[in-house]
């Protein structure tokens, strides 16, 4: 490890504190907020259907819930993997330090997984699970029966209760989703030592970028999975979801712009080193990838779609390009926050460099694996809990 640090020595510009050569939070910590952001965003998309009764996006409802679950299951992995002592992480549960934002992770996570997401999914699928179990052969039958927790009641009254419970959970779910990702923003935003992070806007910016990435990834998945299942894409649903995405990107963009203008206008002690950081070290990832490719171009495309009356096929293609660009943009956002925030010295006199490993726990391959894992989990989830088709039969066909 120290060998790597020697290689960084010549790349230091200006003066940095000697302990600052090593970038402590690497790629894994970039992956972490990216993944939790998708969880929160996908969940908020799902809430649109239940709480705000947006009927058009109904086809995305179950998919977004399962996407949220798949990503949530992966969320703790990057955090655990980057610890110096992962086996001691249970200490955060046993003796959490209440003043520490990070200590709350386990609790926020557990709340979100156990109280919100799993319960909601259970109520959504309960009736179907019972019907499927009746019609299927083992072993699927056993799986579905077990997942329904052996409930059998599909009477009017029971279903009514399901619907009520769902509404209630979604209502708790929205603030919880806000909490989940706003909290991740707070982990960074509350560090007064670091002017790049320390901002009250941080949790809110995180939240909106989360919504953007979550909605975009659900649209992306929908556009891939539906053709694979031999079904047709519901254009009305796609348009509606895309227009939510559009508004979310606008809010996100305005917030980030506000943050930017505010910093420049206040022009505090750190402004010189931060502008050097942006112009030298983060130019590609911030100016080009995050702002231009990840925000302005998608916004432009979506405006064009709204203004011109394109054919379905072309619209689909444009939407597809948009959601991919947005993912790249949001990943760059996470990168710029996490890595960018460590590339300048707290003496405000110099910059250091981040050199990504390829192998190892902090390496590129491992992070890629972590990013692919949610899709694998989602595929399994969709096998067990089909997202489309109301009755058991239809689901079996697909």
């Amino acid at each position: 490890m120290t060998q790597k640090l020697y290689e960084l020595l010549p790349q230091i510009g200006g003066y940095i504190y000697p302990n600052e050569i090593e970038i402590h939070w690497g790629l894994l910590i970039v992956v972490y907020p990216y993944v939790t952001g998708i969880v929160a965003g996908a969940f908020i998309l799902a809430s649109l259907v239940k709480v705000f009764n947006v009927k058009e996006v109904e086809p995305l409802y179950r998919l977004s819930l399962l996407t949220a679950l798949a990503f949530l299951l992966v969320a703790p992995l990057p955090l655990l993997s980057h610890l110096g002592h992962p086996l001691r992480s249970y200490e955060m549960f046993l003796t959490p330090q209440t003043s520490s934002a990070m200590a709350m992770f386990g609790f926020v996570y557990a709340w979100y997984l156990m109280v919100v997401l799993l319960v909601e999914i259970w109520f959504v699928y309960r009736k179907d699970l019972i019907i499927w179990a009746e019609e299927e052969k083992p072993p699927m039958r056993w799986i579905h029966r077990a997942l329904s927790l052996f409930s059998r009641d599909v009477s009017e009254k029971a279903l009514e209760f399901d619907a009520k419970a769902l509404k209630f959970i979604t209502i708790i779910g929205i603030p919880s989703a806000f909490l989940l990702h706003g909290y991740v923003g707070f982990i960074f935003g509350s560090i007064k030592a670091n002017p790049w992070w320390s901002s009250v806007l941080m949790p809110i910016v995180f939240l909106f970028s989360a919504i953007v990435s979550g909605v975009a990834i659900v649209i992306f998945l929908y556009m891939i999975i539906i053709p694979l299942l031999g079904k047709t894409i519901d254009m009305e649903c796609l348009d509606k979801a895309a227009s939510f995405l559009f508004y979310a990107v606008i809010v996100d963009f305005s917030l980030e712009l506000l943050d930017f203008i505010h910093r420049i206008y206040e022009s505090e002690e750190s402004i010189k080193i931060l502008s050097e950081l942006v112009m030298n070290k983060l130019f590609l990832s911030l100016v080009i990838m995050q702002v231009l490719l990840g925000m302005l171009v998608p916004l432009g495309i979506m405006v064009i779609i709204k203004v011109f009356d394109f054919k379905d096929e072309l619209r689909k293609l444009l939407y597809f390009v948009t959601v991919i660009l947005i993912q790249i943009g949001i990943f760059s956002t996470r990168w710029n926050v996490v890595i960018g925030g460590q590339m300048f010295s707290k003496s405000f006199r110099g910059l250091t460099t981040y050199k990504m490993d390829i192998t190892g726990l902090e390496g590129l391959l491992y992070s890629l694996a972590l990013l692919i894992l949610p899709f694998v989990i989602l595929a399994i989830l969709l096998k067990i809990l089909p997202a489309w088709g109301k009755s058991g039969e239809e689901a079996l066909e697909s």
Partner: protein, 285 residues
């Protein structure tokens, strides 16, 4: 929660700010992280004893002052602080070497509990900073006496903040403040998340490459508890580094604070450092 053998609980911040001093009867146990209650109770009883012995149940200021002095001499908990006389530092970095030896700090130039910065302020207003003998010059520039306006060396170390952000953020309480005002890391419970390293505004912390836990200056806690000086203070040939009990009127540190205009690093961040600098230049961050 600190679970080391060190009796470290109540926050230093609470103590240093408590105007009633440490022997007042009225002193309610200070808010302490869970697990510190026993220590607090013991301290409270001790305080009570001292108070009764000194006969000053409602003693006036005078009595209280006398009681305090005698209490410290009778082995009461001190509050440690550190002084740096910038003008006296010659940049020999013997302190850095002594610290590395004393505290098992890895020898590579990326891990430091203390280091010395050299500042060269040029005629044209530009500033060149380097960590002496560690990091390369920021500019490969020939510096002659002519273009130097002023130059000085600044020893740096953990400020043992009374209001330490590193303690605030540690998710497992592995970093904690002792009653005598030192911030320590318990490497048995530290999970190596490095949040404290991010939170320290002074770059005072690093992750030890062998233990994979956070590490930083402890004022040589193992030495000062035996009445010795921190290793860096001991070897400093010019007494640029001073160490002592902030509560004791006789300590060299108190005299230093009385005789000099004092400044701390980054006061705007409200960390309340206990490393005090005299003749500190505005360029130092």
């Amino acid at each position: 929660m600190p679970r080391s053998g060190i009796e470290g609980q109540g926050s230093a911040e609470g103590r240093s700010r408590d105007p009633r001093g440490e022997i007042s009867l009225l002193a309610v146990p200070l808010p302490a992280p869970a697990g510190g209650r026993i220590v607090n109770r013991r301290r409270f009883l001790k305080d009570l004893m001292t108070c009764v012995v000194s006969g000053g149940l409602f003693g006036g200021t005078l009595l209280k002052g006398v009681a305090r002095a005698s209490a410290i001499e009778a082995g009461k908990k001190p509050l440690y602080g550190f002084g740096v006389q910038v003008d006296k530092c010659i940049g020999c970095v013997r302190c850095v070497a002594a610290c590395k030896n004393e505290n098992n700090v890895p020898k590579e130039p990326f891990f430091f509990r203390t280091w010395v910065e050299r500042y060269i302020i040029k005629q044209d207003g530009g500033t060149i900073v380097e960590a002496i003998g560690i990091l390369p010059h920021q500019e490969a520039e020939v510096i002659t006496e002519k273009n130097v306006l002023r130059s000085f060396n600044v020893p740096k170390l953990c400020n043992q903040c009374a209001h330490p952000p590193c303690v605030q953020v540690c998710p497992v309480g592995a970093t904690f403040s002792t009653e005598d005002g030192v911030v320590l890391v318990n490497n048995k419970t530290c999970v190596g998340c490095r949040y404290c390293i991010q939170a320290c505004p002074y770059g005072a912390r690093y992750l030890h490459p062998e233990t994979h836990t956070a590490d930083k200056c402890t004022f040589c806690y193992h030495r000062i508890k035996k009445g010795l000086l921190p290793a860096c203070v001991e070897v400093c040939p010019t007494q640029a580094r001073l160490f002592g009990d902030l509560k004791s009127h006789a300590s060299p540190l108190t005299r230093f604070k009385r005789m000099n205009k004092i400044h701390v690093l980054k006061p705007g961040l409200n960390t309340e450092p206990k490393v005090y600098y005299s003749s500190l230049d505005g360029e130092v961050r």
